[in-house]
């Protein structure tokens, strides 16, 4: 017991004596551990952010196509639909008692490179992302007038839009379009709060507005004299012929596969019903290479950090030869000196882990609002996962292992020194 106390006391005294060098060593280790943990953390967070793009939606239904294609154009706003589905099909779905809610979506127009999504109030009411989080409006209201538009947080930020700004939507996709719906400008009625998902990167109008904009258009061109003025447009009734896709929520999610099979085998129209969660998993599985690359980087970081640690410890040993000689001369046993080494290494590693945790947490807490705001990346501060704790615990364990080398050296040298013998050198 006394020996342990003595070892700790000596360790502390020795550490304090060499505090400047050790502070630098500690800084190096802290940065390595932060990098290691950071990469591991980001890897799982990016996956999380990716899979939480959509949640709570049981099925996405569109025209017959592959499930990834359908997922990409409805949720990620990438690629285009090959076909639409009939309005009558949508209406017959609304009559299905197993279906709780439906969000119709019509795509095809754009606003300065951002997708125009025409939908209805069901989108605000039922669309969920992340951990079942609903959409909220940062300011203003969901569209109520025919020519109201609600814009995503990313669009508002990039294009500096505020409430009541007028926008002119373009016909078709693309950043620069020559056919604009300039007769019928829209007014920004609301701005959505940032979500860190593709929802931020789109502009939302009503299904009726989408129809109204295209009255008098033929082959993608407005026919002069046949388009409507805003007042004329407001007095008409619009029922779309077709929509691009429908997001569906079921009363009992356990029926998802059953409804999916029925929709896929519909005799009315060739449809594809997909499970967004399943499609997301499949997409992520295909991108497994990306995750493996990150894992590989983590591996290299670990190796580099540990090799660095060995180098540092061996240098420290070289510096301490005089100190060890004094300790031996005053009667410290070789075992005690070896213990000093190990204790110091483990202590250093533990301190570095602690600092790395604090540094990492502070960085995430400080940067996450900025990342969400500027890059639409949602990185949450969460407790560490089991793998991350294991990784963290491996650092002091490895330090103990590494310290065994100089400790053993010292112990052996100490025994050979043999201060008591007259013929010792």
């Amino acid at each position: 017991m006394n020996k342990l106390k003595l070892t700790i006391f000596l360790s502390a005294a020795s550490l304090w004596y060499r505090r400047r060098v050790l502070a630098l060593v500690c800084l190096t280790l802290t940065l390595s551990v932060t990098l290691l943990l950071g990469i591991q953390y980001l890897r799982t967070e990016i996956r999380q952010s990716f899979t939480s793009t959509i949640s709570g939606t049981d099925l996405i239904v569109g025209a017959r196509s592959g499930q990834l294609n359908l997922l990409l154009y409805t949720v990620f706003h990438i690629g285009d639909a090959t076909n639409n589905i009939r309005w009558s099909t949508y209406q017959s779905m609304t009559e299905d008692s197993r279906i709780d809610w439906l969000i119709p979506i019509s795509l095809g127009d754009s606003y300065r490179g951002y997708r125009v999504v025409s939908t209805n109030e069901q989108f605000l009411a039922h669309f969920r992302y992340g951990n079942d989080q609903p959409l909220t409006l940062a300011s203003g209201d969901w569209f109520s007038d025919l020519f109201d538009v609600v814009i995503g947080a990313g669009v508002a930020r990039q294009l500096d839009h505020e409430l009541n700004d007028d926008l002119v939507l373009s016909h078709g996709g693309g950043r620069t379009s020559f056919s604009n719906h300039k007769d019928l400008p829209f007014r920004v009625s609301g701005i959505l709060a940032p979500t860190g998902t593709p929802v931020d990167q789109a502009v939302y109008i009503s299904l009726e507005a989408m129809e109204a904009m295209h009255v008098g258009w033929e082959s993608g061109v407005a026919i002069p004299g046949r388009t409507l003025s805003a007042d004329q447009a407001r007095n008409r009734d619009y029922t779309p012929d077709a929509i691009t896709a429908v997001l569906i929520g079921l009363d009992r999610p356990i029926l998802t596969f059953q409804v999916q099979r029925e929709l896929n085998q519909s005799r009315e129209e060739p449809l594809s019903a997909i499970l967004p969660g399943v499609a997301l998993s499949e997409l992520w599985r295909m991108m497994g290479q990306f995750e493996k690359a990150l894992l590989g980087i983590s591996g290299f970081v670990v190796i580099t950090s540990l090799v660095g640690l060995i180098a540092v410890l061996l240098t420290l040993q070289a510096q301490r030869q005089r100190e060890i000689a004094v300790l031996r001369a005053t009667g410290a046993s070789p075992g005690l000196i070896a213990g000093l080494y190990s204790l110091e290494c483990v202590g250093l590693a533990l301190a570095s882990c602690l600092f790395a945790l604090l540094l990492g947490a502070a960085a995430i807490a400080g940067l996450s609002p900025w990342l969400l705001e500027h890059y639409g990346l949602q990185i949450r501060l969460r407790p560490l996962a089991r793998e991350e704790w294991l990784l963290l615990m491996a650092v002091p364990l490895f330090a103990l292992l590494v310290s065994a080398l100089p400790a053993l050296n010292t112990w052996r040298a100490g025994r050979q020194q043999g201060f008591g013998a007259p013929d010792s050198s």
Partner: protein, 195 residues
């Protein structure tokens, strides 16, 4: 132009890869790939509905209706096994089959259902449905009850181990934690549900 960088970038990478259509169609024949099968699991509290669709070849080694006595026995054994073994199970193995059904896509053997087989002679196409060049699928549905299913994050399926011809099993699940999918290869038995 800053955008939702990471998801978009990763998605763009994957968008080049075409995905096969997962489910059957009204007017397209459904995909049929030897060595490959689908397992769908729908979990609600302590009950699970399981659906498996596989080419008959994976489970039986042939795709025509059974002809020889041995093939009949093989089919009967398979049916018996599929109807009584829970196709997913918890680690403690506490799932029980409450109800199961077995369906094969070839016309049933004439000696069992002679009038059913007879109907086919009335059609204008005169080829035999039981010919070896026809592909046939086997579909199994099961209703299971498993004590404490909700607490289990890891489930196991005996399918891949029991049928060596089955090389990939695409698993899709829905449950209280949401939806997900994974692919089991030869030697895999367990999969984690939840996100």
């Amino acid at each position: 132009m800053r955008r939702n960088v990471t998801p978009l970038m990763t998605v763009a990478l994957a968008s080049a890869v075409l995905a096969p259509l997962t489910a059957g169609a009204a007017n397209n024949p459904s995909a049929h790939q030897h060595g490959h099968a689908e397992l769908q699991v729908a979990i609600d509290a302590n009950t699970a509905d399981v659906f498996v669709r596989s080419p008959a070849y994976n489970l039986l080694g042939f795709e025509h209706e059974p002809r020889t006595e041995q093939q009949h026995r093989q089919l009967a054994d398979l049916e018996q096994w599929l109807m009584s073994t829970p196709l997913i199970n918890t680690e403690d193995g506490n799932c029980n089959v409450e109800d199961a059904s077995f369906h094969s896509s070839w016309p049933e053997a004439p000696r069992h259902h002679s009038d059913h087989a007879h109907e086919h002679h009335g059609h204008d196409h005169d080829h035999d449905h039981g010919q070896a060049n026809d592909h046939s699928d086997i579909e199994i549905t099961q209703s299971l009850t498993c004590d404490g299913l909700a607490e289990h994050q890891t489930l196991a399926t005996p399918l891949v181990k029991h049928f060596p011809a089955l090389e990939h099993l695409d698993v899709q699940w829905i449950g209280p934690e949401g939806q997900g999918a994974t692919r089991l290869e030869v030697g895999d038995q367990q999969f984690r549900i939840g996100r």
